[in-house]
């Protein structure tokens, strides 16, 4: 029936974004679609959803399924980690659903079986644009926070090497430059995510911040953080102190440390910042970057370093670059070498199906043709099974 109706199409429709799904038989399709939607909403959600909320228990059985994180936990664990589009999605759907995928499961296996007496292993998550590297990182962060690790989550290292309004000369070291705003912002979020650790960890040295401010030995780390938030000028040094303390104390074994950095290639690239005399700033001259690089070295034990490469925010890198060699450059590669690379591919057929069902379940896909099998095939073709593309495509539908 549909075939004969389609034969009446005399000329191609103007293929606008979204109009590719119009045909002459809209009426009959809409009546079919409404029945379809009802049927599916009542049907089993087991294909795309799992109620297992603890990442520790996720296995291959759960692969391709979404699990939801309670919203309070989201606020506590991810004050600053999630991608902005995902945050919008959380607000729209009123729930945070993350898909369990193979790279994340792989990482969990490695973390579970790693020997924490050995130096920290570095994992680099890489992949093409929009395949889910940041989401994988967030999944790992959630897992570790559930396990009770101390999570040092830097949401996007690129933010530290570009668009900085204020650059102060560091008081600690004349050559370096401070970034008070970024440092204080990060400290605030760090405080929200790791409240209880800040009370437990004690400083091992005395730190002098200025003429009048100093922190004694044995004080909880929370005080240092407060100091940084209060005196924004010293925020970058505070960050350095926090990192040093945590690194030292992690080796004693009282807690596990996860260093999660998104966009780690920013640490070894170039910056767009300029000094007052218009000369370019290299990343080592920034206090934050310098201290973070020290964390990246594998000279400590008792935890793991999970990083992500990102081309999206990177500076001076071509769009098609996604391999570690290309994005890290020689310097970065040597600094991170040896590391465990983890590739995040586009959606497989099952994962795509799951994502599609999830969108349908949330009533996100409103277009009548989107509910048919052909519509699904079209979405698969047009997005190329790329999660980012699919999300952007599904938006207007």
């Amino acid at each position: 029936m549909l075939r004969s109706l389609r034969g009446l199409v005399c000329h191609p429709r103007k293929l606008d974004h979204g109009y590719a799904l119009h045909t002459a038989a809209k009426d009959c399709l809409s009546s079919l679609a409404s029945q379809d939607v009802q049927a599916l909403a009542e049907g089993p959600r087991a294909v795309f959803y799992t109620s297992e909320n603890d990442p520790a228990n996720h296995t291959e059985h759960h692969e391709g399924r979404h699990y939801s994180i309670p919203l309070e936990e989201v606020k506590a664990v991810f004050p600053h980690g999630l991608p902005p589009r995902f945050q919008q999605q959380i607000k729209t759907f009123n729930e945070a659903c993350v898909m369990v995928r193979k790279p994340a499961l792989e990482l969990f296996a490695y973390l579970k079986n790693s020997n924490f007496a050995h130096p920290a292993v570095r994992y680099v998550i890489y992949g093409e644009k929009g395949t889910g590297k940041t989401m994988t990182l967030c999944h790992v962060v959630h897992y570790c926070s559930r396990q009770g690790w101390l999570v040092l989550h830097i949401p996007d290292a690129h933010l530290w090497v570009k668009n900085c309004k204020e650059l102060l000369q560091s008081s600690y070291n004349k050559d370096r430059l401070d970034q008070p705003l970024q440092a204080s912002f990060w400290l605030k979020n760090f405080k929200t995510s790791n409240e209880r650790f800040l009370k437990e960890i004690k400083t091992q040295r005395k730190y002098v911040w200025g003429k009048r401010d100093s922190t004694e030995e044995g004080k909880p780390l929370g005080e240092v953080v407060e100091q940084g938030l209060a005196r924004v000028r010293n925020a970058s040094d505070v960050v350095g102190v926090v990192l040093k303390e945590i690194k030292q104390q992690c080796q004693l074994g009282s807690f596990r440390l996860l260093v999660a950095v998104d966009g780690v290639n920013a640490l070894w690239g170039r910056t767009t910042l300029k000094k007052e005399d218009k000369s370019p700033v290299s990343p080592e001259e920034l206090t934050l970057v310098y201290n973070l690089r020290k964390m990246m070295r594998n000279d400590w034990s008792g935890g793991a370093v999970v990083t992500t490469l990102s081309q999206t925010g990177s500076l001076f890198k071509p769009r098609c670059a996604y391999l570690p060699q290309e994005l890290l450059g020689k310097e970065g590669f040597d600094a991170l070498d040896p590391f465990v690379p983890i590739l995040v591919p586009n959606y497989s057929a099952a994962e795509f199906e799951s994502c599609y069902r999830y969108y349908r379940h949330c009533r996100w896909l409103q277009h009548p043709r989107a509910h048919t099998a052909e519509g699904q095939e079209e979405l698969r073709f047009l997005s190329g099974s790329n999660p980012w593309q699919l999300e952007r495509l599904a938006g207007p539908l």
């Binding site: 034969g7 698969r380 047009l382």
Partner: protein, 367 residues
């Protein structure tokens, strides 16, 4: 100028009122070229042209090193195109060497003899060829009627079978004018066609079939010209088919394989990376979506030239052409009606002198 108009001589005497012009200006003396009608070629002139043409043909054959006896018109065309290469778009404007009968339009010979008496008996009607044609056709009609009457008297009237008119058409007015060498009016033409149709409609009209065929032409059906290639099979036994397409300045070739997951590779790169813009991917999707075969074929394409949109359009045409081999004829007809198999004729319009672009004029300043 008015002052330069002929000085009039006033003649004295009884004819004093008459004025005689002594001289005229160049403007008045110029011949009114348009009023004399198209140039008349004399028979001698045409004959001379034909002789020159034949001589020239032999010379050309010698120049090209071919045999003058077997030098055809095609060979002449090729030789002229080789010796006088021209970049002009209009084929009629390029140098050509054709038989004078094709170049000089046919003209009527003088219709009257030395004594001034016309040859044809209908000369004074003004449209002698037309009326004589009508006269002949009506004669045939009367013949057929007489024959019919004879047969019906003997009760041997044959049944008229419906003749298939789909493959033939009558001559157009212009063709008829060319045949008769005189102008016709629309009404005249209509009357003639009606007469022919009446003749054909009669049961015994088949007798005059030969006469009628002089005035009808064959119309080749549209689809018969297009030949759909059969599927080819490569080493592993997978069916595949090739198609080519162009759009603006982009050229593309596509190889569509019978099995697959719907992946498309362009110049070795996946379409997701080659065509970043959604619109281009939608263009590539269109042939498959139309035929409901989205996830069933793998495609490998090569494309060059043009811009992003032109390349997408070229690949779309190429895939549609390749898909013809996988699909029934009816669906091919559907595709053709949907416009998937038509090469988009739009190209960049030429910039004209005196204007800034093809259409945009320079800013108009009042003063």
């Amino acid at each position: 100028m008015a002052a330069a108009v002929g000085r009039a001589l006033r003649l004295g005497g009884p004819r004093a009122q008459a004025l005689r012009l002594i001289y005229t200006t160049t403007a008045l003396r110029k011949r009114n070229v348009g009023a004399s009608g198209p140039e008349k070629y004399t028979e001698a002139f045409i004959k001379k042209q034909i002789e020159e043409f034949n001589l020239g043909k032999r010379h050309l054959a010698n120049m090209m090193g071919e045999d003058p006896e077997t030098f055809t018109q095609e060979d002449i065309d090729k030789a002229i195109a080789y010796l006088f290469p021209s970049g002009l778009f209009d084929k009629q404007a390029r140098p050509m060497m054709k038989h004078p009968s094709e170049i000089f339009p046919e003209q009527r010979k003088i219709q009257w003899g030395e004594d001034g008496r016309p040859f044809h008996f209908l000369f004074y009607t003004g449209k002698q060829s037309y009326y004589s044609l009508m006269h002949e056709t009506y004669e045939k009609l009367l013949n057929v009627q007489k024959h019919q009457d004879k047969l019906s008297a003997q009760d041997l009237l044959p049944q008229k079978e419906k003749r298939n008119l789909a493959g033939s058409r009558w001559l157009t007015k212009i063709e008829l004018e060319e045949m008769l060498l005189e102008k016709l009016s629309d009404n005249d033409y209509l009357r003639f066609i009606q007469l022919l149709q009446k003749l054909m409609a009669m049961p015994c009209g088949d007798i005059e079939e030969k006469y009628i065929q002089k005035f009808s032409k064959e119309v080749p059906a549209q689809l018969q010209k297009v030949v759909i290639e059969p599927l080819k099979y490569d080493e592993q036994g997978v069916a595949f088919s090739t198609g080519e397409g162009t759009r603006k300045t982009a050229k593309a070739t596509a190889v569509v394989y019978g099995n697959g997951t719907g992946k498309i590779t362009v110049n070795g790169i996946d379409i997701l990376h080659y065509f970043t813009v959604l619109q281009d991917r939608e263009q590539l999707l269109f042939p498959f979506q139309f035929l409901d075969r989205i996830g069933k074929h793998d495609t490998v394409c090569t494309v060059s030239g043009g811009g992003r949109s032109a390349q997408a359009g070229a690949i779309r045409l190429a895939t549609a052409k390749a898909l013809r081999s996988f699909v029934t004829e009816k669906e091919v007809e559907f595709m053709r009606q949907a416009g998937l198999l038509t090469r988009d004729p739009r190209v960049k319009e030429r910039k004209k002198p005196g204007q800034e672009g093809a259409r945009r004029k320079f800013t108009w300043k009042k003063r």
